[in-house]
Symmetry: C2
Subunit: 490 residues, 2 copies
C-alpha cells in the first residue's frame, strides 16, 4: 500500500511557477484515481508530510484533498487518514478506452522523478534572491542581437551538416583565448566541447568517465543538481566534507575507487569558500595518484570582488586530469543555452567525439555569434561592468542582513560570485523558513537541501537578479521572517 | 597484456574526416608510449586485425607502425608481432611532469568509447550515399536566414532566464499543429519537449523511462546509435526481429519486463519496411498490457513517394503509451540542431520537467525562428518540394543499381525516406565492400553493422545528399566494387 510520496511516483510533480498549486494537486490525484493508478482503499500520505515533501503549504494540500473528499473521490476518517473511495465502476476510465483488456499505465524511471524535482526547484520564474541567476536587466541586448542577427544571415554549408558536433572551431578558439586570459586555463581548441548547459556537462562527464556502479565524489554541501545527474548516470555518489579551505582531501583519499571528483574551487557551492592553493595541489596529487578525473565547475569565477581570481585547477594541472567546465549562463544569461567543457589533452579526441554522440549539440549561428561577442571584446567588457554592479549588490545585501538578522545568524563578507550563504543557528528549520519566504515572494534555498551528511542550517541567497533598490527592503523582510521563526523555535 | 583494440581503450579513436589517418595512428600510439600508458613489451594487435576494427586500410596501419619501428619506439619480430620497445627512461615523460609520484592516467568509461565510435561513423564530412543526410544544396537558406535574423533582433526577458526549458510555447504549438496535419499526431503543446537532436531524444527517453538494469527492446536490424544511447543509460537492450510487416510482436511478447520498445514504424531503419496496421495495433496492445512505453522514431516519415503516409502510432494510441520523436535534421538540415519528443499525456508534466533537467536545451532564437518557419508555411512547402526531388533521386539510384548490380543482389523499390537497403548474397562481406567503397569516396553502411542476431549482408545507401547527376555514375562504380568482391568470394 503506497503511503509515501516516493511510492506515488509521478503523481506530484508540481510546477509552482504556473500557479494554482491546489488545482494541480487536485487534478493529478483525480486523474490517477480515474485512471485506476490509485486503487480503491489506497491511503494517501498525511497532508503535513505531503506538504513538507512538496514544499507547499499544508493548507494547499488540505484544500485539494477537501475538495476530493467533498466530491466523493476520497474518504477521510479520523485516525485513519485519507484514502481512495470505493467508486462506481462506470465512473472510472473504462479499460475499453484502451485496446488492452489488462491495460497498465507505464511509469517513469526513479531517476526521472529526481530530474524533474531538480528542475522544479531550478526552473522558477525569476524571483528576488533566486540563486544562480545573473542580472537580466543588465544583459547587453544590443550587442548580442547584432552578433546573432549577423550570423543568422551567413549560413555556410558546414553549418547544415552533422559536422562540428563538438563545437564550431571559431567558438572553441575564442573560448580558449578568453579562458587563458581570464582563468589561466591552458588548452588547445580541440580540447573544448561546446554543450547547451552545465547540466549537460555534468551528464556528459558522468557518462563518459563513469560506468554504472562507479564512484563519483562531490562536495558536501554541494550542487544538488550535479548529484542528480551523477546518480542518473548510474554512478554511486560519495559526499566529501568541505571546510574553510575547500574539499577535505584527506576525507576524499578515504573514498576508494572514485573515478571523478566534482569541485567548485573558485567559489564553493554553496559555502562560497575559495580552495586554498595547498589544497588544490593536494587534490591534483591525489587525482593523479588514483588515475581519477577532477571536474572543475568554474560556474561564476569571473565575479570576484575582494582580490584577483585564483588560478584554475586546470591551469595548475597542465590539463592532464582536470575537466574544466564553464558556462555563459552566469557571465551572460541562462537563456543563451551555452556552456563548455575543456578536456584533458590525452582524452580530448575520444571525449570530443563522445560528447556530441550523446546529442548535446548547440546551433551553429548561436555559437558563431558567441565567438564574435567574445572576439569583439563584449564579454570581457560586460563581465567587468557586472563585477562592480554585483559587488555593490552583494555589499547592500550583506550589510542589510548584518544589521537586521537576529543574533546567532552569520552573514559572510561576499568575495565573489552571484550568491551568499547565511548561516542560521542549529535550532532553526531552514526548510520551513524558505517556505515562509516563498509565500512573500522571496526565493531562498535551504542549506539542508544542499547537504547529505554536512550539518547546519542556512539560507542560500542570490543577489545578482534583483535591482539594487529592491535588495535592502527584501533583505529586511527576510530578516523579519527569520526572527519570527527563531522566536517560535526557542 | 593488452592484445586487442578493446584493451587499448581510448587509443584509436580516429577522426577520418580530418584526414591524415596514418599520422593520427602514429601520434596516438607514440603519445601512449611516452606517457607510459603502453608499457615496454606490450604487444600491439596485428595490423590486419587493427585495420579491420578501425575501418581503415591495412596499409595505413602498416605505414604508421613502420615509422614507429624505424624510430625505435616499436620492435617488430617475425612471428611475434609488434611490441613496445625498451626505451631509455629519460625519453619517457618523467613522472616529475606531474606532481604525483605514482601518477596514473585516467581513462574514459566503456560507454564513452561506444559514444565516440557512434560519432566517428556518423560524423563524417558529407559523402556520396551517406545515410541520414538530406540534400544540403536544396536547403531554403533565404527563408531560414530571414526567420532567424528577425528573431535574433527581438530578445525578450523570458528568453534570457531558465524559463521554457522544455521549449518555447510558440514552437511547441507550431510542432503540434504541423504534426497533427502531417502525421495524425494528437497532442497538447504541453506534451512537446524540444531537444537538440534525436540522439538527445534517445538519451532522454532511456534515462526517464528505464533505470539501470531495466530492459529496452529495439528492432534488429535497427538504428545502432539508439542502441549506444540505451546501453549508455545503463539499460539492457533486447534485440527483436523485424519481418516484412515490421517488428515481430510475438517475439517482443517473449521479452520479459521491457520498459520501452523503440521502433521506426513509418520506414523501418534500415530495411525500409512500413509497419502494417494490424502489427501497429498488436504492438500498442502489448505495450498497454505490459505498462511499457513505445518510442516511435518517426525520423523521415515526411518523405513517402508511393502512397500517403500511414497514421502515426501516437495517433492510433491517443497518446497514452507512445513517446513520439521527430527531428528537423531530415526535413530541414542536421545543422539546425533541433528535434522534439511528444510525450504521453499522463506523464508529460513530469517528463517535460525531467528532460531539460538533463540539460538538453535549445537556444530561444533558434526555436522562435523554427516556429515562424513552420507557421509561415515554409516547412510544408520545403517538404513538398523535397518529396519530388527525393523520389526522383531514389528512382535513379534504384534503377541504376537494378541494371548494374550482379545477380543475387536485391534492390528494393524505394517508397519513402532518404535511403534504401540493397541486399547482398550471403557469401558477400558487406564490411569489406564498404571499406573498398570508402576508398573511392562512396559512403555505404554495412547491414551487418546494424544487426545483432539478424543475418544478412547488405548496403545501406542514402540518396538524398548527392546531386541527381552524380547518382548514376556513383551507383555504377559501386556496382563494380560489389561485383569484384562477389567474384573473389566465389
Amino acid at each position: 500500500m503506497p503511503d509515501s510520496i516516493e511510492d506515488l511516483g509521478w503523481l506530484f510533480v508540481l510546477e509552482p511557477e504556473r500557479g494554482g498549486l491546489e488545482r494541480q494537486i487536485y487534478r493529478q490525484v483525480l486523474g490517477a484515481i480515474l485512471d485506476r493508478r490509485l486503487a480503491t482503499g489506497t491511503r494517501l500520505p498525511a497532508t503535513r508530510v505531503l506538504a513538507a515533501r512538496l514544499g507547499v503549504s499544508r493548507g494547499t494540500v488540505v484544500a485539494a484533498f477537501d475538495q476530493l473528499v467533498a466530491e466523493g473521490y476520497l474518504t477521510a476518517r479520523t485516525g485513519r487518514g485519507t484514502a481512495v473511495a470505493a467508486l462506481p465502476e462506470e465512473l472510472l476510465r473504462a479499460p475499453g478506452e484502451s485496446r488492452g483488456s489488462s491495460r497498465r499505465i507505464p511509469s517513469l524511471s526513479r531517476r526521472a522523478a529526481d530530474f524533474a524535482r531538480a528542475r522544479t526547484r531550478g526552473g522558477l520564474e525569476p524571483r528576488c534572491f533566486q540563486s544562480g541567476m545573473p542580472s537580466i536587466d543588465d544583459f547587453p541586448r544590443k550587442e548580442w542581437a547584432r552578433c546573432l542577427a549577423a550570423r543568422a544571415r551567413t549560413i555556410r554549408a558546414a553549418d547544415l551538416t552533422y559536422d562540428n558536433g563538438a563545437g564550431l572551431p571559431i567558438l572553441r578558439e575564442a573560448i580558449v583565448m578568453y579562458l587563458n586570459r581570464a582563468r589561466g586555463v591552458v588548452a588547445h581548441p580541440d580540447q573544448v566541447v561546446v554543450i547547451p548547459s552545465s547540466q549537460a556537462g555534468f551528464a556528459v562527464a558522468a557518462l563518459c568517465v563513469a560506468d554504472p556502479g562507479d564512484v563519483i565524489a562531490m562536495e558536501d554541501p554541494g550542487y544538488h543538481n550535479a548529484r542528480t545527474l551523477f546518480v542518473g548516470a548510474g554512478a554511486k555518489v560519495a559526499p566529501v566534507p568541505v571546510d574553510e579551505e575547500g574539499i577535505d582531501v584527506a576525507a576524499l583519499a578515504a573514498v576508494s575507487g572514485f573515478r571523478l571528483v566534482a569541485v567548485t574551487p573558485s567559489h564553493q557551492y554553496p559555502t562560497g569558500v575559495t580552495m586554498s592553493l595547498e589544497r588544490r595541489l593536494r587534490l591534483l596529487d591525489l587525482a593523479s595518484a588514483r588515475g581519477a578525473f577532477v571536474l572543475e565547475d568554474d560556474y561564476d569565477s569571473e565575479f570576484r570582488y575582494a582580490e584577483r581570481p585564483i588560478a584554475s585547477l586546470q591551469g595548475l594541472d597542465g590539463g592532464r586530469n582536470v575537466i574544466y567546465m564553464g558556462t555563459f549562463s552566469k557571465s551572460l544569461a541562462p537563456g543563451i543555452r551555452c556552456a563548455y567543457l575543456v578536456l584533458p589533452e590525452s582524452l580530448a579526441p575520444a571525449m570530443a567525439l563522445a560528447a556530441p554522440g550523446i546529442g548535446n549539440v548547440v546551433s551553429g549561428p548561436v555559437q558563431a555569434a558567441l565567438a564574435d561577442f567574445i572576439n569583439e571584446g563584449y564579454l570581457t567588457a560586460h563581465v567587468g561592468r557586472m563585477r562592480s554592479i554585483y559587488a555593490e549588490k552583494s555589499r547592500i545585501l550583506s550589510e542589510t542582513l548584518e544589521d537586521s538578522l537576529p543574533e546567532g545568524c552569520t552573514v559572510p563578507t561576499p568575495r565573489g560570485g552571484l550568491q551568499l550563504l547565511v548561516r542560521l543557528p542549529d535550532r532553526a528549520d531552514d526548510v520551513a523558513i524558505c517556505t515562509s519566504l516563498a509565500a512573500i515572494g522571496i526565493d531562498a534555498r535551504p542549506l539542508s537541501a544542499l547537504s547529505v551528511n554536512a550539518g547546519g542550517q542556512g539560507l542560500f541567497l542570490g543577489f545578482a537578479l534583483p535591482r539594487p533598490e529592491e535588495i535592502a527592503p527584501a533583505a529586511r523582510r527576510l530578516a523579519e521572517v527569520v526572527a519570527r521563526h527563531l522566536r517560535e523555535a526557542r
